[in-house]
Symmetry: C2
Subunit: 80 residues, 2 copies
Amino acid sequence: MKAIVTVRLKREVLDPQGDAVSRALARQGFSHVRSVRVGKVVELEIADGISAETAHAELAKMADALLANPVTEDYEIELL
Amino acid sequence: MKAIVTVRLKREVLDPQGDAVSRALARQGFSHVRSVRVGKVVELEIADGISAETAHAELAKMADALLANPVTEDYEIELL
């Protein structure tokens, strides 16, 4: 089973990396870009033979413990 | 208009960050994880009043020029 955990900065948290990308795009002439936010996408290959519910619960624990910083980041879990 | 550009390492490129996450998860007892790959998700707010085709073409240029490294990474564009 494949799983994707998308980790994004919370809306109220400043994103210096996104701002830098935004400025670099503007410098290169991409004038249509209003703002940029950069996050992470973690793709995990999960062993077969566990249920989708168990996988989802485990992935939430992984995200809380290691993949995301709960103070500054939100995450979203998708099972494929 | 909102756009998401997901940038992933090409399949044949080693991912030391993903391997480190995978080992860290194993150490914390998450034994169901077989492998991990880490990529980037770039969320862009695009000015209204340009067509989806123009936006898509511009985003492909941005990805080629700045968001992804075409030697080691693939990208995917999604317009919301």
